[in-house]
């Protein structure tokens, strides 16, 4: 591959903390197991879902689809073309 | 709509047929019903006539579905009606409540028959009058009209549609088997001469529109489904947005929404009584006795009153064309001037209780109950009139 024409897709997982009811669906159904239960509780007393590092997110969107509370969604960002590793 | 699809002229029609034609003249284009004696002929006529005017008739699986479909059709932007008798009327009560709460214009016709229960299906009665007022659970006001002839069934069905659009609620036509199946002359004017109240549509934009924010007459403008307003409506107690008025906060807030909404639903009728109530009065000014009647007994009463006058009794006649809201003020006025009210009804005494209540002890109230199956004879009412002046 030549330099300059590769775009890496990067996904960012957003949790709307105050809507999360800690049901655990997203955590369970994420195929990459990158969602976890947060140790602290939100203002309604639920342990929300959270993601430490969304590098491994493939953008499958399952977490967003199984959420009953509209509390999690995934957005894609397009990074600048990456340099080919030497 | 081509003029030819509307009837115009003089016809020899039954009450049921006249009711159906009144609905069509009023712009009704949806009828959902279930067969029940003596209202079946309304459905039958609507099933033939509605397709002729571009409307829809559907026979539903029961009366609960019938009124539900009528409410749905109204929200779809079409004037809608159903017709039934006592047993079906009972089944419709919950959805009458939904219609009142969501402020859905529509017309419900009850051709009363001998009751309670299955009663006398092919014979006449007036036993549902209080049920018309109180039948659905909760606090509300309703409008009920009482025609006494096929001509009036035609005219008052049009009025019912107009009232239902103006005040946004189900309006009842309370008639009887005798009138439903009676054949008389009905004059139908050309459609261009008929006054129709259109639905009041919102002028606000979808972003600003509040479905239950009333205009100054306490009635909110009504958007139809598909108009782009994306509104919500519910049978739950709701606020001006149409949202259920529940909150995690104090019960006060909930109670306030309930009070505010229910008050408005009641007041929109109460404050407009004068425009809604219609009475037919004769010879009351110098009367000693007033016969108060509605529906078919009012016609028999006319004969009894005639004969009483021939005997020298000063008797007047007050016919209730609108039974609900009840003309409390007029009854109170008359009560102060007369020796008695005489009220024939084909039931064990229902609307007479209202007369008695409003007369407030100022005068006697003499019910003339007739248990149904037949119509009073003039003699029965005449006897009561004679008794009243004794």
């Amino acid at each position: 591959m030549s330099k300059g024409d590769t775009k890496a897709k990067h996904y960012r997982v957003n949790v709307i903390a105050e809507r999360c009811k800690g049901c655990g669906f997203c955590i369970e159904f994420c195929p990459k197991h990158i969602l976890h239960e947060f140790t602290k509780i939100n203002s309604r007393g639920y342990h929300q879902a959270y993601i430490e590092n969304d590098d491994k997110c493939t953008g499958c969107d399952i977490c967003s689809m199984v959420c009953p509370d509209f509390a999690i969604y995934v957005v894609s960002t397009e990074e600048k073309p990456e340099e080919e590793a030497g | 709509m081509p003029e030819g699809k509307y009837l115009a002229g003089e016809f020899f029609m039954s009450g049921d047929e006249a009711c159906a034609e009144g609905a069509i003249s009023a712009g009704c284009r949806f009828f959902a019903g279930y067969p029940i004696t003596p209202a079946t002929e309304i459905a039958e006529r609507m099933s033939q006539r509605l397709p002729e005017v571009g409307g829809i008739h559907i026979q539903m699986e029961d009366e609960l579905a019938s009124l539900a479909a009528v409410l749905g059709a109204s929200w779809g932007g079409v004037k809608a009606m159903t017709a039934t008798s006592g047993p079906g009327f009972s089944l419709m009560m919950e959805n009458i409540g939904l219609g009142l709460m969501t402020e859905t214009p529509c017309v419900v016709v009850n051709m009363q028959r001998g009751d309670p229960s299955t009663g006398l299906p092919t014979l006449t009665g007036q036993g549902d009058m209080m049920q018309a007022r109180w039948g659905s659970h909760g606090s509300y006001r309703i409008i009920a009209l009482a025609p006494n002839s096929p001509q009036e069934l035609y005219d008052l069905t049009i009025r019912a549609f107009n009232l239902s659009e103006k005040y946004r609620l189900p309006v009842l036509i309370m008639s009887e088997s005798a009138t439903a199946h009676m054949y008389e002359k009905v004059v139908i004017p050309p459609v261009s001469e008929i006054e129709i109240t259109p639905r009041r549509k919102p002028t606000a934009s979808p972003e600003e529109y509040l479905p239950y924010k009333p205009d100054s007459d306490l009635v909110p403008p009504m958007a139809n489904a598909g108009d782009g307003y994306r509104f919500h409506t519910t049978g739950l107690t709701h606020d001006e947005r149409g949202y259920p008025a529940m909150s995690a906060e104090a019960q006060d807030k909930l109670a306030e929404a309930q009070d505010k909404l229910i008050r408005r639903l009641v007041e929109k009728i109460e404050k407009n009584r004068d425009k809604i109530i219609e009475l037919d009065e004769d010879g009351i000014d110098d009367a000693e006795v007033v016969v108060c009647a509605y529906g078919i007994p009012s016609r028999v009463s006319s004969r009894a009153v005639e004969r009483a006058r021939e005997e020298g009794i000063k008797v007047g006649m007050l016919r209730l064309i609108t039974v609900w809201p009840f003309p409390e003020d007029r009854i109170r006025q008359i009560a102060g001037q007369v020796k008695a009210f005489v009220m024939p009804e084909i039931n064990y005494g229902q609307v007479v209780l209202e007369v008695e209540r409003c007369a407030g002890g100022m005068t006697k109230t003499i019910p003339v109950p007739h248990m149904g199956g037949g119509v009073h004879t003039p003699e029965l009412i005449l006897d009561a009139i004679r008794q009243a002046v004794r």
């Binding site: 996904y11 949790v15 709307i16 809507r19 009811k21 800690g22 049901c23 655990g24 669906f25 369970e28 159904f29 309604r44 639920y46 953008g59 399952i62 967003s64 689809m65 199984v66 959420c67 009953p68 509370d69 509209f70 509390a71 969604y73 995934v74 957005v75 894609s76 397009e78 | 949806f30 959902a32 829809i56 559907i58 539903m60 699986e61 029961d62 609960l64 579905a65 019938s66 539900a68 479909a69 409410l71 749905g72 059709a73 109204s74 929200w75 779809g76 079409v78 809608a80 139809n224 489904a225 598909g226 108009d227 994306r230 509104f231 919500h232 409506t233 519910t234 739950l236 949202y243 259920p244």
Partner: protein, 269 residues
């Protein structure tokens, strides 16, 4: 997926929700919100004009959906969503009318209307969220509660056979019948989209968790337990003889698109 907006308090589907009423009333682990989520996605995929989509619901937990979706929506009386929807559709055939209600509302008190609407092939889409229980009123037996399952009115276990919804719908004349659980979100979304675009009585039954009542009383302590049960026990058998699509307590759940036939709908446009 949308491009990054940097705003993490606004969900991409918020435009289709009455966000001023969120968070919604459904319990943690309840499937109702998931079905609503799926429904919105299906609507967007269907390409339908959202100003012409009307949602009619009945009474019950699922019935509350009408209050959360930002479309013309009607929260009607118990069991009467289907005839209301019938009137609405007949009055304005341009509308896409969706009945979104629960197993009790649609099949018990509403059972008569269900079979007649299917028989008539009224052009409406019906989403029946089946959680096997009456959730809103606290966990009573419903028409789909499996034999021997516990509920607050059958504490020793139900002695009644439940309805087999796809069998009933197909026998009544429905032209599209599918069942999925909330664990099969992608297929559920596809089914709902198909049902929306299909002319005629189109039913999607969605098996959904009720952790607070049904689950708790029947060895599925959390919504997650129920979702795992669905994931492990669902079997896709679209060609099954529907009389075998019944669901036994904690048993196998047959899912799939069972019926997709052509029959003139009412209204026939």
């Amino acid at each position: 997926m949308s491009k990054a907006t940097g705003d993490s308090e606004k969900h991409p589907l918020d435009a289709y929700l009455r966000t001023e009423r969120l968070p919604h009333i459904w319990c943690p682990g309840c499937g109702c919100g998931l079905v609503l989520n799926c429904f919105i996605r299906s609507l967007l995929k269907s390409g339908l004009n959202l100003d012409k989509v009307a949602v009619v619901s009945g009474i019950g937990c699922t019935g509350r959906v009408a209050g959360y979706i930002r479309l013309d929506s009607f929260h009607t009386t118990h069991g009467r969503a289907i005839p209301f929807a019938t009137g609405l559709k007949l009055a304005n055939p341009e509308l896409k009318v969706v009945v979104f209600s629960g197993d009790g509302d649609l099949l018990a008190i509403g059972g008569n209307h269900f079979i007649h609407a299917a028989r008539r092939n009224i052009d409406i889409t019906v989403l029946c969220v089946n959680n096997f229980i009456y959730g809103m009123t606290g966990g009573q037996l419903g028409p789909t509660t499996p034999l021997t399952a516990r509920s607050t009115t059958t504490r020793m276990g139900s002695i009644e056979e439940p309805f087999n919804i796809p069998y009933l719908a197909a026998a009544s004349g429905a032209t599209y019948v599918a069942r999925w659980t909330t664990a099969q979100v992608r297929r559920l979304e596809k089914a709902i989209t198909e049902a929306l675009l299909k002319k005629g009585f189109s039913l999607v039954e969605v098996i959904s968790p009720c952790p607070t009542y049904y689950g708790r009383m029947n060895k599925q302590a959390s919504g997650l337990d129920t979702m795992k049960y669905y994931r492990s026990n669902s079997v896709i058998k679209p060609d099954i003889d529907l009389k075998y699509a019944d669901i036994k307590l904690n048993g196998q759940i047959v899912v799939g698109k069972f019926v997709d036939i052509e029959r003139p709908p009412i209204p026939n446009l």
